[in-house]
Amino acid sequence: MSSSLWTLKTGDSCEILGYDDALDEKYRIRLMEFGFHPGESVSCLQSLAFGAPKVYRVSNTVYSLDDEVAAHVLVRITTSHE
């Protein structure tokens, strides 16, 4: 079952499935450039308080994404700490 990247909590990992249609094309391009492409593994390093952008690791780089972007990235959670 797919969910969004934004639903990940600290320590969770996932595999990117794709993007939903609401995500603007140029945002999609930028995410792909940063390594958030289908099939890639992503882990959530930090889920901050008050809805602040979350911290994700993809390959050997760390990025912060806010919900406006992360909520449109479709993922399959592979490791959950719930």
Binding site: D24, K26, Y27, I29, R30, L31, M32, E33, F34, G35, H37, E40, L45, Q46, L48, A49, F50, G51, A52, P53, V55, R57, S59, N60, T61, V62, Y63, S64, L65, D66, E68, V69
Partner: protein, 612 residues
């Protein structure tokens, strides 16, 4: 002269490498219309070669106006016969991030017959953690020479120079030819595969970074660290820069005392004293503040903390159409709008940068303080409430400071909701670079360049306007009486404009002269009321204003007017330069004047209703 382009994605250490190779001696130029610098310098070891530092970008596929200009500049450069080769810097510790862009650069260079050399930077970091990068294998795979270097320690740079010395253009690297016809999607897949195959194994670097992020992004410790660092930033602008600002003022004053008596003619003497030295003092005094703020912001950027600060502030500022990166320029604006506008360069989204420019002039800058102090002392009673806990004047000062900030956020919220400029916006996808110890020398060099930019670019406009306003106030009666000068005449002319606020021509003249700098309002009003050195001792002026039958509503209207109006020539000049748009500065001046006038009129009318 033969030119070499230096390319690389942000946070790859490109600028430090540029400084290493050119020995810090370079000039900085701007792309027309946008805030992107291009540094140009001769190689220290090979002065016949010029190195052009291309702005850091993640890809050659532009998704904003800024990026489009930068990418077009690169494409034009490839057609330039003087450009002999391209150096592409990659972060050896995070290969995949840099490789996609590098492959795009190699492809474009292959199409134009330009040689590419890939510099795998931060090799010292890999060495320190006993990690390695297969540079030969990577070079063979991408079809370009890959050299391991450290911009920080200088390791490997001799080999780079030796390669550059080989003047003949030849094929380098391994057997694999660059992918001349490869599509971006293919390059992305290739970058991923190459990073897996040749990149450093292990995640010790990420673990170190995550450990520190656990402190700096933690709800409690992160909040404390953020508060302390912002306090440090604020202190640096207000307190650390103050002695240097005083020194500039003192030095100019001492020089004026030496020079002015040597000028024979009275008018020329007045011009030298008031327009030349007064005009120079009006903008040179900001140089230390710009230098100090650039230094502190540079420390934050180079150490990696800036990205964390942006992350912490993003959510609340997003409500007002801003980004987390807007916070530091806006906080700096509480001290002075000029360094704050420079600080807005760090905002990568052109749209968010524009909105931040709009908010900055409404932050309650220190130049407003003397005006607020004078008006509050004149119109707000000195009494206290709640058993002495709350002073009315202190409360009024807090209210007017808060009012300015509120107006700034209100403007950005309204503009962001009513004007959609999607093309110039960028998503909040922020790279969190590893924590690093900043390199001092390049940082100081950057501070120097920024200060020089202010003096040479904005200084001319500020000085020209200063001379103009001085002329209006001096002629035709040669400085005998401000009231009968051309400025006084203008004050009378615009009196009907300020009459609905209950203000007469004297306040009109003071407002006109405060266009030079807001605090000039106090000195001008003092001159008109016949009080010597009113800007240093305001009590007699306060008494005069209180005795001049000026209504409470007019005093409050003036307070509101000064909280909003953008009557600061230095701010407007630097705004025009940094945004690349003089029309933006003019529109903002007129827009905020109108906003200030309407708000002041509303306050005057409302107060008049209650006070009769």
């Amino acid at each position: 002269m033969s030119k070499i382009l230096l390319m690389g994605s942000p946070n790859s250490g490109k600028s430090l490498l540029f400084n290493r190779l050119t020995g810090l001696h370079h000039k900085v130029a701007n792309f027309p219309g946008i805030t992107v610098d291009v540094s140009v310098g001769r190689l220290q070891a090979l002065p016949e070669l010029e190195l052009v530092d291309f702005p850091g970008t993640y890809s050659l596929q532009a998704i904003s106006a800024d990026e489009k200009v930068a990418v077009e500049y690169f494409e034009r450069s490839l057609l330039d016969p003087e450009v002999s080769q391209v150096l592409c810097v990659i972060d050896a510790t995070r290969l995949e991030k840099s490789l996609y862009f590098t492959l795009q650069v190699i492809r474009e260079c292959a199409r134009h017959g330009k040689r590419v050399m890939v510099l795998a930077n931060m090799i010292d970091v890999l060495d320190a953690h006993k990690l390695s990068l297969d540079v030969d294998g990577l070079g063979a795979a991408v079809g370009a020479l890959v050299l391991p270097v450290s911009a920080r320690s200088g390791k490997g740079l001799d080999a780079v120079i030796a390669e550059l010395k080989k003047a003949s253009v030849r094929e380098v690297g391994g057997s694999t030819k660059p992918q001349v016809t490869a599509l971006d999607e293919q390059l992305r897949i290739t970058a991923h595969q190459l990073a897996q195959r040749f990149g450093a194994k292990g995640d010790v670097l990420i673990r170190n970074q995550t450990r520190l992020d656990g402190i700096f992004l933690h709800s409690l410790t992160g909040g404390i660290a953020f508060f302390l660092i912002m306090y440090l930033l604020f202190q640096s602008i207000f307190t650390w820069a103050a002695p240097f600002m005083d020194a500039v003022e003192y030095a100019l004053g001492a020089l004026a005392e030496l020079v002015v008596p040597l000028v024979g003619n009275q008018t020329a003497r007045d011009f030298t004293a008031d327009a030349v030295f007064g005009g120079l003092g009006a903008f040179l005094v900001f140089v230390p503040q710009i230098f100090v703020l650039t230094f502190v912001i540079g420390l934050m950027e180079d150490s990696g903390y800036m990205a964390r600060a942006a992350l912490i502030c993003h959510k609340p500022l997003r409500l007002f159409g801003l980004t987390g990166k807007s916070f530091i320029p806006m906080l700096s604006g509480v001290a002075c709008a000029i360094p704050a506008i420079y600080a807005a360069r760090a905002i990568d989204s052109p749209r968010k940068r524009l909105l931040t420019y709009m908010a900055i002039p409404l932050m309650p800058c220190s130049a407003r303080l003397p005006v607020y102090s004078l008006l509050i002392a004149a119109f707000i009673p000195a009494g206290t409430a709640l058993g002495g806990l709350v002073g009315w004047q202190g409360l009024a000062m807090f209210a007017i400071y808060f009012f300015g900030m509120f107006c700034g956020l209100l403007v950005t919220a309204l503009v962001s909701r009513t004007s959609k400029d999607h093309y110039n916006d960028l998503p909040f996808v922020l790279e969190l670079p590893p924590y690093r110890i900043p390199s001092l020398l390049p940082l100081l060099r950057n501070c120097w360049n920024r200060s020089k930019h202010f003096v040479t670019k904005a200084g001319k406009i500020i000085f020209a306007v200063t001379v103009g306003v001085w002329g209006l106030g001096y002629f035709p009666n040669f400085g005998a009486d401000l009231g009968t000068s051309w400025l006084g005449y203008l004050g009378h002319l615009i009196e009907p404009l300020f009459a609905p606020l209950g203000l007469d021509w004297r306040y009109g003249v003071a407002i006109l002269s405060s266009f030079l700098a807001r605090e000039v309002f106090v000195g001008t009003l003092g001159t008109i009321f016949g009080i010597e050195a009113a800007d240093e001792q305001t009590a007699p002026l306060v008494e005069q204003i209180q005795n001049s039958d000026l209504a409470l509503g007019s005093g409050l209207a003036l307070l509101v007017f000064f909280a909003i109006a953008l009557q600061c020539i230095s701010t407007l000049a630097i705004l025009a330069k940094e945004s690349g748009s003089a029309s933006l500065a003019v529109k903002m001046f007129m827009g905020y004047f109108l906003f200030a006038y309407v708000a002041a009129l509303a306050v005057f009318q409302l107060t008049s209703l209650f006070t009769g």
